[in-house]
Symmetry: C2
Subunit: 689 residues, 2 copies
Amino acid sequence: MINKELIDPKSIVVVGGSNNIQKPGGKVLKNLIDGNFKGDLYVTNPKETLVQGIKCYQSPAELPDVDLAIIAIAAQYVPATVELLAQLKNTKAFIILSAGFSEVEGNEEGKIFEKEIVESINNVNGSLIGPNCIGIITPNHNSVFTLPIPKLAVKGCSLISGSGATACFIIESGIPKGLTFSSVFSVGNSAQMGVEEILKFMDETYDPENSADIKLLYIENIDKPQMLLKHASSLIRKGCEIAAIKAGSSEAGIRAASSHTGALASSDLAVDALFRKAGIVRCYSREELISVASVFMHKRLKGKNIAIISHAGGPAVMLTDALSKGGLEVPHIDGLAANELLEKLNPGSSVGNPIDFLATGTAEQLGTIIDYVDEKFDNIDGMIVIFGTPGLYKIFDVYEFLDKKMKTAKKPIYPVLPSIETAKDEVTEFISKGRINFPDEVALGYALAKVFYTPEPAPEKIVLPEVNRKTIRKVIDNTNEGYLSPAGIQELLDAAGISRVSEAIAKTKADAEKFASELGFPVVMKVVGPIHKSDVDGVVLDIIDIETAGEEFDRMMKIKDTSAVLIQPMLSGVELFAGAKYEPKFGHLILCGLGGIFIEVLKDVKAGLSPLSLEEARNMIKNLSAYKIIKGIRGQEGVNEEKFAETIVRVSALLEAAPEIIELDINPLLGNMEKVVAVDARIRINHKN
Amino acid sequence: MINKELIDPKSIVVVGGSNNIQKPGGKVLKNLIDGNFKGDLYVTNPKETLVQGIKCYQSPAELPDVDLAIIAIAAQYVPATVELLAQLKNTKAFIILSAGFSEVEGNEEGKIFEKEIVESINNVNGSLIGPNCIGIITPNHNSVFTLPIPKLAVKGCSLISGSGATACFIIESGIPKGLTFSSVFSVGNSAQMGVEEILKFMDETYDPENSADIKLLYIENIDKPQMLLKHASSLIRKGCEIAAIKAGSSEAGIRAASSHTGALASSDLAVDALFRKAGIVRCYSREELISVASVFMHKRLKGKNIAIISHAGGPAVMLTDALSKGGLEVPHIDGLAANELLEKLNPGSSVGNPIDFLATGTAEQLGTIIDYVDEKFDNIDGMIVIFGTPGLYKIFDVYEFLDKKMKTAKKPIYPVLPSIETAKDEVTEFISKGRINFPDEVALGYALAKVFYTPEPAPEKIVLPEVNRKTIRKVIDNTNEGYLSPAGIQELLDAAGISRVSEAIAKTKADAEKFASELGFPVVMKVVGPIHKSDVDGVVLDIIDIETAGEEFDRMMKIKDTSAVLIQPMLSGVELFAGAKYEPKFGHLILCGLGGIFIEVLKDVKAGLSPLSLEEARNMIKNLSAYKIIKGIRGQEGVNEEKFAETIVRVSALLEAAPEIIELDINPLLGNMEKVVAVDARIRINHKN
């Protein structure tokens, strides 16, 4: 519901404008004036006639029509003022800086005020930022009451933040590195619009020429995950890049975030799955967000092979370590062209990668190296140039060469200029050309790897495998809340096309003996009834004859809650699992991993948001820590990955047909090179879902 | 071999001093003059009579006696100059800035020069820094040719670097945060003294009053690991704190480091083990080193419970996440005192931890909160204060209060002042009082956790369990190079007091059947001869009767290289392993972990340097990713940790008695709550060791 009046208003009123620039109402006016707002600027304040040189109205009622109102008065006066402006002054956009609304726990009056405000604004199809925010910055107006105001550039970063102070501090981190911004939105209480709506607006109005391509988000609470997913992935498909901090990623952090925003935070597994599906690069600190944003501001890295060009060995080694840990490579460079390059450098230089052209290396040599890497070293996809100074002379010429080469090179060049004190003037001049500095090579290395390995967004339309919807609905609709019966589970798995082990349920000893013989020894027997079968000694493997089968049946039927015994042939393969759980607002999370200790001890689980594409399922499998076991180790048979991936997407298809399933756990799922087969499963249903 | 003449010379000559301050010989003189060197300063240069206002001698031969010579002339002239100064001018300390020596691959002449120089200096018991270095900074003289020259403070950090440019860049990272230094040593080619010798000197001359307590190291090549271990741990035992970057921690990084220093880097596992044993905090980037050093500059954190005091919610949440991931806690604060505190803050504040006193929070409120945390909240060990500014007014008063409270509080207080642009003046004033700023809360969180969880140095004297040294020596001395026989292994394990499974070796079918019966079914049978027994199908588990034992014997004897069959009772327990390998210069690395996939797929191995204390062994076990399995999961029996730890230190004791063992692998080592027993082992011997 963002409108033109918010982004590019013809007129703005500061309600509660003040001569005291230590107050929000004074400072926001000063920022508007300093930012040379081109339209008409009004102020209201009952006690003044002139505020910061601008005519002041004593009451909003006296104002002419005005597009955007910035409100900085006490909470209790806001509802009436908003209603007046909306109804009588044709005001279509509001930024409410004032606090004292729903953000204060137990403030029932504030909650009502906030509701009234939203209603008044919705009634005129207006847009609202806040309350309890620092405001917004667009190319047309600096409507924030805070500093710093960053340098704006059309192709700078758009910053959308769920916390005003954090937005300021993110900008503080970015400015010294030269990062520019195109707009800043602080959504405060998100009474009408939160981070999700701003992103939606950016998606719907995206224009490759004039829109920012880089979005940075700070989020504490994802209220509308599906909206975030839709518009983030859409923007990325259009060529944008998005990085986000979702604070509250640990249990303690979730508690801290809840006390800050008052909202319950989502499970971190769901957040991770959402970000991966959307193609958002997830960050955990302001510095990391700025490093990733700075990587975004350069040409895209198309492969994982990096050349490090440095006049100092140490940082090149630390950077090599960092790239290598992140999964990028610093491949050896040799051959004729390499020898040719070496001859153009000072004695003692090396070109094997890192390319070290020594403390005595010159600007021209740097240029030559960049040309060789760009044009002649085909095994290199991008380069990192490290150049500081020991302080003997000025190095303006080096950075000038660097800037020039960055303009013409086909491969991305990332500059690390570490001498931020000694070469302050040179770094400042470099930045003034619109360039960005990475002061720490290792931070760059990690950020570059993170960006490179963040997956593309999942396809817009995900085609799930066909399932027998009719049967699935029949089973679900005829089932009570709670855990599904073994027969129901079998029907659902069959209807979803998930292979399962043949099995039979015995209620008498005679049946147990008969079924075991028919299925073929060795068999496995499991109690029907108890949830945690192993814990009650309700699973016996490798039963090799009819007598044992009969004896075990008798023993098992005595276990508490046991109503029957399930018999299956004993299969061999790697113990896998596939599962799902429902996450409020996010939908279903599909999980996969290896069984046993891998889940229980190592928490080696990957999650994706349903509906899941085959490609996403493949990536989940490949990203497991125990992936090597799936590939097969030391002569042991591995798992048919395609079949495992298919099982995972079939779980997703089952859930799309039966969203009432709030918990699904196929464990173990046995996999070998031939097939992947469900051996045991548990499904829980909630009809309210 | 560092002497007084190097640290506090009465006179210094710059050989090759110049009026051109863009040259090392000019710049180092300028830095000496700017640094107000108090002694006599001489210059030699054949072409000048006056250099930077100082009388210039045309030849070193004309000089009076001089304590310290800083040499900045071409490599080929250095040996004669050094010899002259050492023999005729009573010069006892040398800093050679010139390059062109052993650092250039294939420069045989340079290598000889370097050797000659070291000999000349050793002959007069002199000390040498370099060649190919940037020099040193002590409280008495700035003998570097580079910038920046950091602010010196008696209790600042001592920086010792194997790379000159990296030392400069580390200082560049530290200055904006307010980090101070007490001395800087760039060791260059380490011809006479490397990082290890500087540390040794610092240890031997340590004086709690006047020595720096914080040492920062940048190392690419650990040439003398035992010297490093001895003096680093000794310094830490005396109350110092040490952080170090050892670059070249990845395979690609090791290659890069080797091409930079020309030396082969050590295995990273050995470096990690050395650092842990010494109590050194290992860092991977300049920024991280500075963060850790900044933590060191504060009072020590004595427990893991942190209070976060912030006027902004977002950074507090991100910090909570970071602390929590690092293993520190942000415990809930409540009770009477908490309620009392809440009443003193603005409405809407929260004290549950994070303590959020809102954007309107004042300096006095900050003071009150700090007092409460320091005096009344007993469950808190340290506090982090986050305070920036939205730019409405100056916040000098807040930082003044913060500085005052930091002086008096008993608990450590770490300041995060994020508004480095908007509150530049205030941050600068805070820093000018000797304070340090952590501009990014998450970087602080990780650094704090890293420091807190770095173990204390191992005891100086490690008492190993007693072993039968006589038997061990007998076995080793009577054995050829290569793999030890099963009988020899049994003897060694018994002599070392390492429990092993009872076993018998059968060379005939009749023996196999007899031994199997005697040991008791079920038994395990393994081929004797082949190294990778499983790969050749040479291990059979769970043999339950005499017939199968006989059949398997016949089958196994046909396997290539098989000379006999080993029979053991089949034991149950968790599959562990303990092992050792010899690492050149470092000595023996003792390894432990879980067997099977844990080693092969997950590389879940911990290493310690021999001799190993019981406490170190316990920590190795506790730090395994699969530690939960050792504790016992889901009703499964765990492992007797004390017995496992004892086995590990007995391996260490065995190696101390038999350093010729270059490889030892007890795998599997079966563990349950009662005992830990070696089932199979492999030992390789090299008599040259």
